[in-house]
Amino acid sequence: MNTTDQHIIELEDLSKVFFTDEVETHALSGIHLTIDAGEYVSISGPSGCGKSTLLSILGLLDSPTTGRYRLNGHGVEQLSQSEQAGIRNREVGFIFQAFNLIGDLTVIENVELPLTYRTGITARQRRERALASLERVDMAHRLNHYPSQLSGGQQQRVAVARALVGEPAILLADEPTGNLDSRNGEQVMLLLNELHAAGATICMVTHDPRYASFAERQIYMYDGQIVDEDTMNRLRAKEEERIQALLGRPLDGTRREATPT
C-alpha cells in the first residue's frame, strides 16, 4: 500500500482542544509531523504535554479539532465510523502501557482477535497467523493461558503479538514499558528493535530517555507543541527550577503524576 515516496503519516497544523466543564484544554496545537515507511519514531515530553492525545489521533481513536491528517495518502476526516474501524483494523497496531489484553480470552484468542474483525480469513488462517505472531515475540508456549496467569512482561509481549498479527502499516505504542520493570522493559524494547529491523514502522511514546534513544528519530513535545531537543531541555530546566523553588527539593526528573482530580 505505502509506496516509498509517500509518507505513511502526514499531519498538518493539527490541534486538539478538550472541553470539560467550561474548561478548555489545548492538548495539541499546531502540530506538523510526517512519518515515513520503515521509520522508528519516539515521542517524549513531560506528563500532560499531549503525547497520548497525539497517538490516539494517529490511531483514529480520536479526531483532531482542526488540521489535516492523511494516513497512507488518504485524508481521514471524511471517513465514516465503520471505515475508520476498518483502517484501525488493517493499518494500525496498538501497544498500550497497561497491555489491555482481554481477561476472558486466552492468549491465542487475544492475538486472533483483530483478525476476527476481518472478512475473508478462515479460522485456520487466523490461527496460523496468530501462532506465527506469537512465535515472533517468543510466547508460543503459553497459547491457552489467560492473561491473569502471565507476568507483566509476558502480557506485553502477547500484546505486541496482537498488534503485529494484522500486519499493520504502523505500530503505535504508548509507553509500552511503563508498567514493566527495567528488565522486562528492555526485552520489549529489544523486541520493537527487532521488528523495526524487519521493516516495521513504529511510533512510540516514552518518558524514558534511554528508551527514546532506541528510536532513529526523536520528537520532543512541550505543552501540546513539537519542539526541538534544545528548546525542550531549556524549557524543562526552567520548569524544574520553578518547581524546586516552590517545593524546596529537587524532582526526580522522569515522571510526574498528573494531579489527581
Binding site: T53, S56, D62, Q81, G86, F99, N100, Y117, Y146, Q155
Partner: protein
C-alpha cells in the same frame, strides 16, 4: 449496629444506579401487592360485623349436587326449620335481600333503596344490637306491623329529625314507622339499607325464596346441626313442598358458614389476582437481587480490601442483607404511597358484584401485612443475592484489572433474567386470554339489535302498582309513556318489558294440559312492539299486538327453546299451556336470544302482554324487577334527560333507577372480565417493563464492567455491530430461554383461568406466540439500547483511565 446501617445507608445514597431501579421495581411489585391485600382484607378477611360470626350458618337448600351457595326454602319449610330445630340459639328468616324499594322521606323525594324483609329471629341471630330504638319483635312479625328498620347510613341520608325514631316513611306507597336504626357496623350483602317485617303471604311462598340463618347453640357442632336439619326435612319436607332427595337426587339440606356464603363468590377472582400480583412481586425481588448482585460484583475490590483487613465473611452477607432491607423499606414506602393513590381507582372500577367494597381501604390490618410482605421481599432478594454471589478470589481481585476466566459472571443473574421473562410472559398471556374471552363475550350473537337504543329502568314498587289494580295501572303507565315518547323526533320505536334483555326476570311454572309435563320457565311481560323494536324475528305465527288485551283470549309467544322443550316435533301454533289458573294459546314462536345474561344461552321463555297477565304476576314482577323501557331511533341515545323528565311528569311516584344505552347494559355484563383484564394487563405490562429494566440494568452493569474491553476491541478495529452483538448476545439468549419457558408455563395458568371464568377453550396458541414475540421485541429493544451505548464508548477516553 445502627452505625453499620447508617453507613450502608450513606453508601446506598451514593449509588443511584442501584437504588433508583431497585426501589422503583419494588414500588411496582409492592403497590400491586398492597392493593390486592387491601381488597382481600376488606372483602374476605375482615371479620363479619356480627359477634361470634363464625357460629352463624346458612341453613340452606341445595338444588343441585355441585351447588356451593345455599339456596332458599319454601315458606312452609322455612317456618318448620325456625320453629322446630333445636341446634340454634337464635334463628331467623329473610327474603329478597337486595330488592329495590321506593322510599319517600320527609323531603318528599322518592328514591330507590336496597332492602329486604326479615323476621325478628334473623336480627337476633345476627346478634348486633340496634344503634338506636329497637329491632322487630315477634308481634311485629305476627301482626304484619308497618314498621321499618333503616341503616345508619340511610338515616343520615334522609336527614331525619331528632334521633330518627317514630318517623313515618312512605315505602312502596305505604306508610311505615321507623322503630330502629341499625348498628353503624351493620352490613348485609348486598349493602341492605332497609329491613321490613317478613310477610306471611305473597307469591314467593311456593318458591324457594325464604332463606334461613341460624346461630349455632353452645356445644352444638355444625355437623350435628346439619344432621338435625336433614331429619327435620325428612319429617316435614314433602308436605312443605320440598321433595325428598329420593325424588329429586342431588337436592337436600346444606349448612354453610355465613361468611363463606356471603363472600364466597368474590374469592376466586381475588385469588387469581393475588396469584398474578405475587408473581409480579417475586419478579421485582428478582430485579433487586440482580441489582444488588451486580453492585456487589462491581464492589469486589472494596470487599476484597475489607476481607484482607480481617473482616469476617459474615459481615459481607450482613451487608447484602442490610442493603436489601433498606431497599425493601424504600420500595414498601413508595409502594404504599402508590397503592394509596391507586386504590380508590381500583375500587371504583371493581365489579358491582364484589361485596363490602366500601370497606376496602388502607387501614391497620392492611398495614400489618406490610411486615410479612417486607420480610418476604427482603428474604427473597437477599437469598437470591447471596446464592448468586461468587466466592471472592482475594489475591486475584486485589491484583488489579486483569480478570480471570469468566471471573465476574454469575449464573444466578442469568437465572434471574430467565425467571423474570418467564413470569412476565405468564402474566401477559393471562391478560391476553382474559381480553380474548371478553372479546368473545362481547361478540356473542345476542339474537336482537342493540344499536341506537336507550334503556330505562323504572321502579314500580309503589303500592299502586302492587295491589289489585297492578295490571291496569301498569298497562296504563306503559301506554302513556309509549304514546308520549313515540311522538318525539328521531325516535322510531318504543317498547316496555318486565325486565331488560340480558337481565334476570320472573320464573313461573307452566304445565302442558292433559299431561304431567311442567317446567319452571322465564316469563316476560312485554308491550306490543317489543319484538319489532329488538328486531327479534318471529319464526312462526305472529307477535303480540295491542289487541291482546284484558278480556280477549289469553295468548303467548314462546321462544324456540320452550317450543323444543314442550312440543318437540308436534305443531306449536294454537297449542295450549297452563299457567297460574289460565290456559294460554300459543300464537307465535320467537327466535332464541340471550335472555338472562351474556354467558347463558337461550332459556325456555314465554312472552305475554301486561294487559293479559294475572294481577298477581304483574304485582310480583313489579315488586322484584324494575320496568324496562326501551326506545330506538337515531336520537334515542341522546334522549336521556328528556326521558327522565317525561317519567317525572307522567308518573312522579316512579323513580328512575337507571338510564343507559343498551351498549352500556351489555358492557356492564363484562365488568368482572374488564376488572380482571385491567389489573392483569397492568400487572403484565409492569412485569414486562420490570424484566426489560432488569435486563437493561444487568447489561448496563456488564457494559460498565467491560467498558475497557470494548475500548480495546474498538481500537483493534471491531465494527460497531460486533460490539453491540458481543454486549447483547448473552442477554438475548437468556431472554429467549425465558420466552420459551414462559410460553410453556403459561399453559397451565390458562387452564386455571378457564376454570375461573367457566370458559373452556381459552388457550389460543397464536395469541401465546404473539405475546411471546411482542415481549421478545421489548426485551430485545432494552438489550439493544444498552448495546448501542456500549458501542458508543470513546476508546481514547476509556483507555486513558488506568
Amino acid at each position: 449496629m445502627i452505625q453499620f446501617i447508617a453507613k450502608r445507608c450513606r453508601r446506598l445514597a451514593r449509588r443511584p444506579r442501584l437504588v433508583l431501579p431497585a426501589v422503583a421495581s419494588l414500588a411496582v411489585g409492592c403497590s400491586g401487592m398492597i392493593i390486592l391485600l387491601a381488597l382481600i382484607q376488606g372483602i374476605l378477611l375482615n371479620p363479619l360485623p356480627y359477634p361470634d360470626a363464625e357460629r352463624l350458618y346458612f341453613a340452606g337448600w341445595r338444588f343441585q349436587p355441585a351447588q356451593t351457595q345455599p339456596g332458599g326454602h319454601t315458606a312452609d319449610m322455612a317456618r318448620h326449620i325456625v320453629e322446630d330445630s333445636r341446634s340454634f340459639s337464635a334463628i331467623g328468616r329473610f327474603r329478597d335481600a337486595g330488592s329495590g324499594y321506593v322510599l319517600t322521606g320527609p323531603d318528599g323525594h322518592a328514591r330507590s333503596v336496597t332492602g329486604m324483609v326479615a323476621d325478628h329471629g334473623l336480627l337476633e341471630a345476627l346478634g348486633l344490637p340496634p344503634g338506636r330504638g329497637r329491632h322487630f319483635s315477634r308481634q311485629d312479625i305476627d301482626q304484619q306491623a308497618s314498621v321499618a328498620l333503616i341503616s345508619a347510613r340511610l338515616a343520615r341520608e334522609l336527614a331525619l329529625d331528632g334521633d330518627g325514631l317514630d318517623q313515618t316513611l312512605r315505602i312502596d306507597g305505604q306508610a311505615y314507622q321507623v322503630i330502629g336504626i341499625l348498628a353503624e357496623s351493620f352490613w348485609f350483602e348486598p349493602n341492605v339499607d332497609l329491613i321490613l317485617p317478613l310477610d306471611r303471604g305473597g307469591i314467593g311462598d311456593q318458591g324457594h325464596n325464604i332463606h334461613v340463618i341460624g346461630r349455632l347453640a353452645d356445644g352444638v357442632s355444625a355437623r350435628a346441626a346439619e344432621a338435625e336439619l336433614v331429619s327435620l326435612h325428612e319429617a316435614v319436607g314433602e308436605s312443605a313442598g320440598q321433595p325428598l332427595p329420593d325424588n329429586r337426587p342431588g337436592t337436600g339440606m346444606m349448612l354453610a358458614p355465613l361468611g363463606d356464603s356471603l363472600l364466597g363468590p368474590a374469592e376466586r377472582p381475588l385469588m387469581l389476582l393475588l396469584g398474578a400480583v405475587a408473581l409480579l412481586m417475586v419478579l421485582s425481588c428478582f430485579n433487586v437481587a440482580n441489582l444488588v448482585l451486580a453492585e456487589a460484583t462491581g464492589a469486589r475490590g472494596e470487599a476484597a480490601v475489607e476481607l484482607a483487613l480481617g473482616a469476617h465473611p459474615a459481615r459481607l452477607a450482613g451487608q447484602r442483607l442490610t442493603d436489601c432491607l433498606l431497599l425493601t423499606a424504600g420500595g414498601l414506602a413508595s409502594g404504599l404511597l402508590i397503592a394509596w393513590l391507586l386504590l380508590p381507582l381500583v375500587v371504583a372500577g371493581a365489579p358491582i358484584g364484589l361485596p363490602r367494597l366500601d370497606q376496602v381501604g388502607i387501614d391497620l390490618p392492611v398495614l400489618a401485612w406490610l411486615i410479612p410482605l417486607g420480610l418476604a421481599v427482603t428474604l427473597i432478594s437477599t437469598g437470591l443475592a447471596l446464592v448468586g454471589q461468587r466466592s471472592l478470589n482475594l489475591a486475584q481481585t486485589l491484583r488489579g484489572t486483569a480478570s480471570g476466566r469468566g471471573g465476574e459472571r454469575s449464573p444466578m443473574r442469568r437465572v434471574l433474567v430467565i425467571g423474570q421473562v418467564t413470569l412476565s410472559i405468564v402474566l401477559l398471556v393471562l391478560a391476553t386470554m382474559v381480553a380474548s374471552s371478553m372479546q368473545r363475550l362481547a361478540d356473542t350473537e345476542l339474537g336482537f339489535a342493540t344499536d341506537d337504543m336507550l334503556t330505562a329502568r323504572l321502579s314500580l314498587g309503589d303500592a299502586r302498582y302492587r295491589e289489585d289494580q297492578a295490571r291496569l295501572r301498569t298497562a296504563q303507565l306503559i301506554e302513556a309513556l309509549v304514546g308520549e315518547i313515540q311522538a318525539w323526533p328521531g325516535i322510531e320505536r318504543v317498547a316496555a318489558a318486565s325486565s331488560l334483555p340480558l337481565t334476570r326476570g320472573l320464573n313461573n311454572f307452566v304445565v302442558l294440559p292433559g299431561t304431567d309435563r311442567g317446567a319452571s320457565v322465564e316469563v316476560r311481560l312485554v308491550s306490543p312492539g317489543y319484538f319489532e323494536l329488538l328486531e327479534a324475528p318471529i319464526l312462526k305465527g305472529r307477535a303480540l299486538t295491542a289487541g291482546d288485551r284484558d278480556g280477549s283470549e289469553p295468548v303467548m309467544v314462546i321462544n324456540e327453546a320452550l317450543a323444543r322443550q314442550f312440543f318437540d316435533s308436534e305443531p306449536v301454533l294454537d297449542a295450549t299451556l297452563f299457567m297460574d289458573g289460565l290456559n294460554w294459546r300459543v300464537i307465535g314462536v320467537a327466535a332464541d336470544q340471550r335472555e338472562i345474561n351474556l354467558r347463558i344461552g337461550a332459556q325456555p321463555t314465554l312472552f305475554i302482554t301486561h294487559a293479559q297477565a294475572q294481577p298477581m304476576i304483574v304485582s310480583a314482577v313489579n315488586q322484584w324487577f324494575p320496568l324496562a323501557l326501551m326506545i330506538r331511533g337515531p336520537q334515542a341515545e341522546a334522549a336521556g334527560n328528556r326521558l327522565r323528565q317525561a317519567v317525572e311528569r307522567l308518573a312522579p311516584e316512579v323513580p328512575v333507577e337507571s338510564i343507559q344505552p343498551m351498549s352500556e347494559v351489555i358492557a356492564d355484563q363484562l365488568v368482572l372480565e374488564r376488572f380482571l383484564l385491567v389489573l392483569l394487563a397492568s400487572f403484565g405490562i409492569c412485569a414486562l417493563l420490570l424484566s426489560a429494566t432488569g435486563l437493561f440494568g444487568l447489561l448496563e452493569f456488564e457494559r460498565a464492567r467491560r467498558r475497557r474491553e470494548m475500548a480495546v476491541r474498538i481500537a483493534l478495529g471491531a465494527p460497531a455491530g460486533r460490539i453491540v452483538a458481543s454486549l447483547t448476545g448473552a442477554g438475548l439468549a437468556w431472554t429467549a430461554a425465558g420466552l420459551i419457558v414462559g410460553g410453556l408455563l403459561s399453559l397451565p395458568a390458562v387452564r386455571a383461568l378457564e376454570e375461573l371464568l367457566h370458559e373452556p377453550g381459552l388457550a389460543d396458541f397464536g395469541l401465546v406466540v404473539t405475546v411471546v414475540l411482542a415481549s421478545g421485541v421489548v426485551m430485545a429493544l432494552a438489550a439493544f439500547i444498552s448495546g448501542l451505548r456500549g458501542a458508543g464508548v470513546r476508546p481514547a477516553e476509556a483507555l486513558r483511565q488506568e
